[in-house]
Symmetry: D2
Subunit: 256 residues, 4 copies
């Protein structure tokens, strides 16, 4: 049968995962409850809620990124279609930006499979070496390390680590991610500190969520950041000037 278990509609009710949207959900669920309920068919625990809020907040965006810049460039061409600007900003969330959170989580889940929860540091280091070896073999990059701007360390990592500790998610996956960074730094003799992708990957893995959900939550968080950028572009435009700045970088372009 062609159907979804998420919900159905009759002339007088809307049902979501077996609950009545109007009488059992609106006003009773907050947004994070709703995310859990629609995707996983259950409510989050309080500590899951803390962590998911942190993921949404962290991925919301900040300043000028390729994602927010392209959303603003779309907005100035189609200001009547807010949805197109937000969609644009999301479309850059692929294998290079945001998407790797999924890959990092998958890498850590696979890498920690053989470890006991109380693995020694030496065992975790050994597993990290194994992860790196496997990725080399597959000619695949290792996820979750290094940052083009935060070269000495991603400032979001300590904040997310502390929060994971407080909520019982500083697990094997975090330790493995830290060990991967350490081994790589020694091997390559250069700074490759764990980054926000690694931290979120570790959190997703520690929470036992499908890594694709992690990637999806980043899209939800980002949509809020994009909204802020588009609203600012409306009242305080900068995208046209940004474009002209890029245009003028090539002296063959002559503007009036």
């Amino acid at each position: 049968m062609v159907k979804t278990d998420i919900g159905y509609t009759t002339t007088d009710t809307i049902m979501v995962r077996g609950k009545n949207l109007s009488t059992e959900i609106i006003g009773k669920f907050d947004f994070v409850d709703m995310i859990f309920f629609t995707t996983l068919s259950r409510m989050p625990t309080p500590r899951e809620k803390v962590m998911v809020n942190a993921l949404l907040v962290t991925t919301a965006d900040h300043g000028i990124t390729p994602s927010s810049l392209s959303a603003r460039l779309t907005y100035i061409g189609a200001p009547e279609a807010l949805q197109g600007a937000v969609a644009t900003g999301l479309l850059g969330a692929g294998s290079v930006f945001l998407g790797p959170m999924q890959n990092a989580a998958e890498m850590l889940i696979e890498g920690a499979k053989e470890l006991r929860d109380d693995a020694t540091d030496a065992e975790v280091m050994q597993a990290a070496r194994e992860v790196i070896r496997r990725h080399k073999e597959r000619r695949q990059q290792v996820f979750g390390v290094g940052h083009p701007i935060h070269v000495d360390g991603d400032p979001r990592v300590p904040a997310l680590r502390e929060l994971s500790r407080e909520n019982g998610y500083y697990s094997l996956h975090w330790r493995l991610m830290e060990a991967v960074s350490e081994v790589l730094m020694t091997e390559h003799n250069r700074k490759l500190p764990m980054n926000v992708v690694g931290a979120i990957g570790a959190i997703i893995a520690a929470m036992g969520l499908d890594p694709l959900i992690g990637r999806g939550l980043a899209l939800v968080g980002r949509s809020a950041g994009l909204l802020a950028h588009v609203l600012e572009e409306k009242s305080q435009p900068m995208a046209r000037e940004a474009w002209e700045l890029v245009l003028k970088a090539d002296p063959r372009n002559v503007l009036p």
Copy 2:
């Protein structure tokens, strides 16, 4: 200067609206705080938070809509690009679906401009007639009434009305929206009950938010619903069958 006030980045800090993301935001703000903080540069009050959560929950989606169906159809062609499926679902949020929340809010803000907060019912009815007259004159539809499925009344409206009452947002804008529906029903002698678009428009107007923010919040809410649909499509596919169902509706299409 080409700049944004939303945030900036240095090698060791990320600043959002004057606060340090790592030490002052992550773990301290929940997602609705972050939405307010990035878009409006302030924290929400508790009752604003209740209302914004309700808007996000209400717009998250439910069952098969054109938006969730198109997201799923995109996903089966490009399962490696989650962002494309979510973007697809958002692209249908235009002047017909979701977008009218902005128009309804604008209509109610304009219509209530001349009314005092304690306007009598007769004054509100008069203002409603004025709104309808103006829209006729502009050959523009009146927003916020009628529903193709919920013909006797949109079940989300009473839930949102009660919540608005409890939180001090059952204002002039709600009364005006209800009056618009009433006048239209009398004029056309058919059921044109207020719908979810009208309710959300009234809430946005009552909260004093930019109507574009209302439309944007609906996109954020919807992105969560789309995520749920894409995740379900991954484990319990239905989009291909749905497509074949549509294909077979024309008997000239012959499938094996």
Copy 3:
């Protein structure tokens, strides 16, 4: 019945508008034939073909535009999803960029409705004044004049005018568009020369095409230009540097 007249499929044939794709179309139709055939259910005349090729060529894009820049910014985040980068570049084609071709055509069709084909210059000038008056009344901009870069005249206009002349499409709509520009320049005492949007609007109107087709052809043309930009970004990247240029314009951003 849920059906399309564009085509249908059986286990051994694919039919498009009544013709067999494999035996009657592939190798026999070129792309412009196919565009006409699928959208209008007929073949183009030779002079229609010349004009549609010119529209596709003109809108294909050139250099750095908000559209090509945002496509490249999306590509660097999701290089595995070419479709997302092309979609991004198209999403900026709204009411400000590309979309106005549709509006200009509509403006010219409406404005020329009362004129005979052999209207005198004075009659055309009078109709132009009427167009401008109507747009003022509706608080709507006049389409097809002025350009932020080509302040003294859009170089594409003479090329498209000549081609229209050669192919019998230098009609009333062209004359009306030119008159609109002339009247506005006199009224405002500043340069408001006809631009490419006005020229394409005039061509669409002169060809008797649905203005929405004009806008759609611009999307098809642009998709080719976007492809060129994405392919160049792959071998000769510039989007990351462009982003950093914008980032550095605000001195609060500190990059390593």
Copy 4:
């Protein structure tokens, strides 16, 4: 320097790949010339033109596909944003639909690397076995064979084969693709005929084009088909009914 070689703009000229758009391109280049010129910086030969036209025509779309259906579903929600509907239809062109043309071309280029142009049939069969072995080893599907609807053979393949023959592109890559299909059919003892993806992959490979260009041309071709569907949806809507058909497939949904 942040620059593109595709083109630049001054106040009075637009240059594309060293040619003046207005005086040297518009009216002189047709669309396929322009595609070649902007992406490859050269004009196509006559037989390249025939083949690229065939690729564009073949990928333009026909009937109801997930791509055209999702574009139509987006259009009914946002009819003011044509670009969003076309973008939607393109977003489904990923690793499952259209995208595999790139993979098939890559597979054939790699597989034919060791073969001489006049390889014997036995050598080509041996190379095909090698291709299949390599894909198995990498746990990657073999591209270009089988079709859910055209189970006995894709009707586009003979048309594209004949055209390739006539234009000198029936090369090693075609023979290899046919051999891959043959070997697989023998191995699995079921029908796995070469499909349109394999044919286009073979053509791209035989033409010596970057496989990514092949995938991009499919997007350009598809954008024309999507335009046809959106235009039809405007005058002869079917998307809402299609949606209701899907909705009603689950009897829990009750429509008025």
